[in-house]
């Protein structure tokens, strides 16, 4: 966080934040801390909507949004950040216009991408506090691990049907004592299929509104140091019976990230960890966008193959030879054998399939999957 004492406010800002500043326990200092803070909100959906609206309204100086999705009609039942006119728009962009209209005094930084093991550390490290409003286990563990590895506080909320959970993970208190993280609470995720997702199980529209607002409250407390954050405690809300419970949670010695014998020192493959990848599928050789760009810069010889469809290629391409996945094995003769062949698609799934098929049929051993596909490439190019 930048030194908050140096933060100043315009007349318009002072008028806007007056009801904060006059709270005796909050005051100008807390408002300065908010303006100095950089908060990353992961997911701008059900939880992200109230979170972003309240953080923007409260005057958090820099808000980052990680979101790759597009606004859909079925979102509007709970994602109050968006309106009918936003349907079809990228959520990140629609969120930005709404939030800037709400508060023009703050900065909104967009990360119009899926959070992955490849980009998470780069993105998270630019922020002071993270608020996790994602909707799936792999990303939950990814966000948690990235926050623990980088020493960031992770304000967590999750919902299902009528139930909500809130906690503050990896929070270091004023005495320097570190609180538990998600892996202390849940060492492993449920196997796929055992617990239904929101897409299958549904969710009461107002629930993320309630729970996401509590999450925003915790973010503001963590930033300002006002009150006692929900660290070391798990809050549960049952909207159906209107019952709340708060449990004590503790750090555990066997936490693989920061327990007594840590075994995880970098981000892992979270799809695999959550059992979403078939363990029988042989891993393919991969290269990161970073390495690929290095090859280009150094003039390393390679051939680039794009296994997407022609319409996708037309929209955007990075100069690869177009051989769609469905027919790629029939055109194996067009693949060079004398140099490394980099295969890519949109996100890296189809290209991995293509490589497996080509390796199986032709025994090729010079194929490399471009990790994260053209999406990761474009993201990296934007940053450079």
């Amino acid at each position: 966080m930048a030194s908050y004492q140096d933060i100043t406010f315009s007349k318009a800002e002072l008028a806007r934040y007056d009801r904060h500043i006059i709270i005796p326990d909050f005051g100008l200092a807390a408002q300065q801390k908010l303006k100095a803070a950089k908060v990353l909100v992961i997911g701008s959906g059900g939880l992200g909507s109230p979170l972003l609206l309240y953080l923007a309204a409260a005057g958090v100086g820099t808000i980052g949004i990680v979101e790759f999705d597009v606004v859909d009609d079925s979102n509007l039942q709970r994602q109050v950040l968006f309106g009918k006119n936003d349907v079809g728009r990228a959520k990140a962009r629609a969120a930005k216009s709404r939030l800037q209209a709400l508060n023009p005094h703050i900065k909104i930084q967009l990360h119009n991408t899926r959070l992955t093991s490849e980009n998470a550390l780069q993105i998270v490290k630019k922020y002071d506090v993270v608020a996790d409003g994602t909707d799936n286990f792999p990303t939950r563990y990814l966000v948690n691990d990235a926050c623990v590895l980088l020493g960031k506080t992770n304000v967590y909320a999750s919902i299902f049907q009528f139930d909500g959970q809130v906690s503050v993970f990896n929070y270091r208190d004023a005495d320097g004592v570190l609180g538990p993280n998600y892996r202390d609470l849940y060492p492993t995720p449920p196997p796929p299929g055992l617990v239904p997702s929101c897409a299958e199980g549904g969710v009461l529209g107002v629930l993320p509104g309630i729970v996401g607002s509590m999450q925003a409250n915790e973010v503001i407390k963590v930033i300002t140091g006002v009150g006692t954050p929900l660290s070391g405690r798990l809050f549960l809300f049952d909207a159906l019976n209107f019952e709340t419970r708060t449990f004590n949670i503790k750090r555990r010695a066997d936490n693989p990230l920061n327990g007594e014998n840590p075994s995880i020192t970098q981000l892992i493959d979270y799809e695999f960890f959550c059992g979403l990848k078939n363990p029988d599928e042989k891993p393919v050789k991969e290269i990161t966008v970073e390495t690929f760009l290095k090859w280009q810069a150094l003039g390393e010889p390679y051939q680039l193959i794009d296994v997407r469809e022609p319409n996708e290629y037309e929209t955007a391409n990075i100069g690869g030879l177009l051989l769609p996945l469905g027919t790629v094995t029939e055109h194996a003769d067009q693949l060079r054998r004398d140099v490394k062949v980099v295969v890519h698609c949109r996100s890296g799934v189809r290209s991995a399939k293509a490589i497996r098929a080509l390796e199986a049929q032709y025994g090729l051993d010079n194929l490399y999957n471009l990790k994260g596909g053209i999406l990761a490439y474009q993201e990296q190019a934007q940053e450079v």
Binding site: F160, D163, P187, P189, A199, D238, N241, F247
Partner: protein, 92 residues
């Protein structure tokens, strides 16, 4: 007799009952009782080795049984046992 609170995702295995009164001296006995009365619930509570699933937390009162005596954590008449599974929903 302790009161066991069943979380929403598991209520479909308990005939949509949210709270059950169970005659049990400790957590292990309570889980056994639940598994006997609701066989479909069993695999969601314990794994093949009979260990409590690691995506499930069981709290007796306000505390995690991992900080108490695990399955041997005693239950009394007034004890409230909460089963709290990991849920991941947010924006979906």
């Amino acid at each position: 007799m302790a009161t066991v609170i069943i979380p929403t995702p598991l209520r479909k295995f308990t005939n949509n009952t949210a709270k059950l009164n169970i005659e049990a001296g400790n957590v292990e006995e309570a889980l056994l009782d639940l598994s006997t009365n609701f066989p479909d619930l069993k695999k969601h509570l314990v794994d093949e080795q009979g260990e409590i699933r690691s995506f499930l937390n069981i709290f007796v009162g306000d505390d995690d049984i991992r900080d108490l005596a695990l399955g041997k954590t005693p239950l009394s008449q007034e004890t409230v046992v909460s089963i709290v599974p990991a849920i991941a929903g947010g924006l979906a």
